[in-house]
């Protein structure tokens, strides 16, 4: 029996397996990220860091059931100038990390990105769908021109030093084209997708459950939307994709790889299956691959496009 090889390279960064902790989960301190690292994850993503300190929204910020999670945490951040201890902790991690950042204007993205790039993290991820951006939510990830300009501006300051992934939103009719625009502007990879805009109303309370009213949908309910988006993006770009959205089993993982993922972002599965979901998912993937005659995880990427 051939050994199963789950390893891969993401823009030159070696991962033991394709599972990646999605941004916003357990990423407040490097200690918890280190713990996730001990749970068999291939890489971890920091909680997105913004230009200035911002507390996010009051609670409820995160609610969930077996079908979906809904959150409006609101991108709290200490601000990029105040995260020295985190960088320190990150550098000590035994697995690669992805440094996620956001801004509320092109200038702010560039400002944070310049600081990040100088610290040479393995990878940078641009969260382009900021729910409290000045000009309204998702503006960067849902507007072709803005997405292009933003990636251009960021790449101008980061140069060739660090690969930059653009994280896109499903709340648009043309994610494939937006991804292509990001690639043309110099993005080294695409992360797809962020959460879908959603809301839950408590009918006894007669008001939205989340303090911010609107929030982002993640988890199993998001998966069919994520598969479609990743499939769209894969058709339009040649750079690697971190496929994200609703992955909670090995079968889900294989599905998102076949749609076009090279890496796999995983978040809500932590709620559904515990922090060791990464180990579990890798184990299930391996078993499935064995049964179906695959030896390398790379054989799965984009397989549904043949």
């Amino acid at each position: 029996m051939a050994r199963i090889d789950l390893s891969l390279s993401l823009c030159g960064v070696k991962l033991a397996n394709p599972t990646i902790l999605a941004s916003g989960f357990l990423g407040v301190s490097p200690f918890t990220l280190e713990r996730v690292g001990r749970c068999g994850v291939g890489a971890v993503t920091m909680k997105s860091v913004g230009p200035r300190p911002w507390p996010g929204y009051p609670n409820p910020t995160v609610v969930a059931n077996e079908e979906f999670m809904l959150n409006a945490v609101g991108l709290p951040t200490a601000g990029y100038k105040n995260i020295e201890p985190e960088w320190e902790g990150m550098r000590k991690l035994k697995i690669p990390f992805i440094a996620s950042l956001y801004g509320t204007s092109l200038e702010e993205y560039a400002e944070v990105a310049a600081d990040f790039a100088a610290r040479k993290p393995p990878l940078i991820e641009l969260d382009l769908s900021c729910p409290h951006a000045k000009k309204g939510g998702h503006q960067f990830a849902t507007n072709l021109d803005l997405a292009r300009k933003l990636v251009e501006k960021v790449k101008a300051v980061t140069g060739r030093r660090v690969p930059v992934f653009a994280k896109l939103s499903p709340n648009c009719p043309n994610i494939g084209e937006i991804a292509a625009a990001c690639e043309a502007a110099g993005a080294d990879g695409i992360t797809a997708i962020n959460t879908a805009s959603a809301m839950a109303i408590d009918i006894e309370a007669k008001c939205p459950v989340l303090y911010n009213k609107r929030g982002g949908l993640s988890g199993p309910a998001l998966k069919p939307i994520a598969v479609k988006c990743v499939y769209d993006v894969y058709e339009k770009v040649h750079i690697p994709i971190i496929a994200t959205g609703g992955i909670s089993t090995g079968r889900d993982a294989v599905e998102l790889l076949m749609a076009g993922g090279t890496g796999l972002g995983i978040g809500t599965a932590i709620y559904l299956r515990g922090i060791d979901c990464f180990e579990k998912i890798c184990g299930e993937m391996e078993a499935w691959m064995k049964e179906n005659g695959y030896t390398k995880v790379k054989q799965l990427t984009g397989a549904a496009h043949e």
Partner: protein, 272 residues
């Protein structure tokens, strides 16, 4: 269809009881299976959602006890019978007293309620524990009768307005010097708990402390409540000596809502 549901469920207030001038217990006609030390997330629609330790559960209905100080707890204090409040949980682990024979409970301020619940559960199992309750002044004390029925109660206040004029760690040192306890259970301001823990360490007595951090999800996903590599909301809130001993953050650091690491003193002063 769903097995897990972590959306708030609206329940009606059955009763509001003022335990002292600034602390009230909100009771619901709800059966919920809760162990002492567990908490619920309490949602006031359009206001905020806050973690609250469970004070009463089982036959008596569900109850929590809030110290009225900020906006949300002020609104909790204004609740009336029949009002709707959102509840999800119970969450977290609980005080483990399966093996303890003689227990010392140490509660400071609004850390007293979960320990009052614990003392009652211990009494039900035939355990007679000692309970040290501390507050700034007599107006901060609560549940004296309730605890008195279940345990041997010793009271102290910072200003001496009732009981001993002392802080709880002092009484703990005395108690541990005088008697043999299997375990010390504590809940209150973390700086107090750190001192209680230090006393326990001196005597080689096991300690279980219920910790607080800022909570968002309450189910171990968002990472806001981190304490070293633990998630206080789900791995805790109760931590034993083995962890407390090696923790680099217990008694020292917390995380603001922004995610910035701040000292406990800053946390106490400015909150999150």
């Amino acid at each position: 269809m769903s097995e897990r549901n972590d959306f708030p469920r609206m329940v009606r207030v059955a009763k509001v009881v003022w335990e002292n001038p600034s602390t009230c217990t909100i009771l619901f006609d709800e059966r919920m299976d809760v162990k002492p030390g567990q908490y619920v997330m309490v949602w006031l629609p359009r206001v905020d959602e806050k973690p609250m330790s469970v004070t009463y559960a089982g036959g008596k209905g569900l109850g929590f006890t809030a110290l009225v100080h900020g906006e949300t707890t002020r609104k909790m204090g204004a609740l009336k019978k029949g009002d709707l409040v959102g509840v999800r949980g119970p969450y977290g682990n609980w005080f483990d007293f399966a093996k303890a024979k003689k227990a010392l409970l140490v509660g400071g301020g609004v850390g007293v309620p979960p320990l009052a619940f614990l003392a009652e559960e211990m009494a039900k199992k035939g355990m007679r524990s000692m309970f040290i309750m501390g507050a700034r002044s007599k107006d901060g004390l609560m549940f004296e009768q309730r605890i008195g029925k279940a345990a041997e109660l010793r009271v102290c206040t910072d200003d001496g307005s009732k009981g001993r004029k002392a802080r709880t760690p002092e009484l703990v040192a005395e108690a541990l010097a005088g008697e043999r306890f299997d375990c010390v259970y504590t809940c209150g301001p973390e700086i107090m708990m750190k001192k209680v823990f230090d006393e326990c360490e001196k005597r080689g007595v096991e300690c279980q402390a219920s910790l607080e951090r800022y909570f968002k999800c309450a189910f171990g996903a968002c990472g806001q409540c981190c304490l070293d590599d633990k998630l206080v909301c789900a791995d805790g809130t109760v931590f034993g000596s083995a962890f407390l001993r090696k923790s680099s953050e217990f008694g020292r650091y917390s995380y603001a809502r922004t995610g910035a690491r701040i000292t406990l003193e800053e946390w106490m002063k400015h909150g999150m």
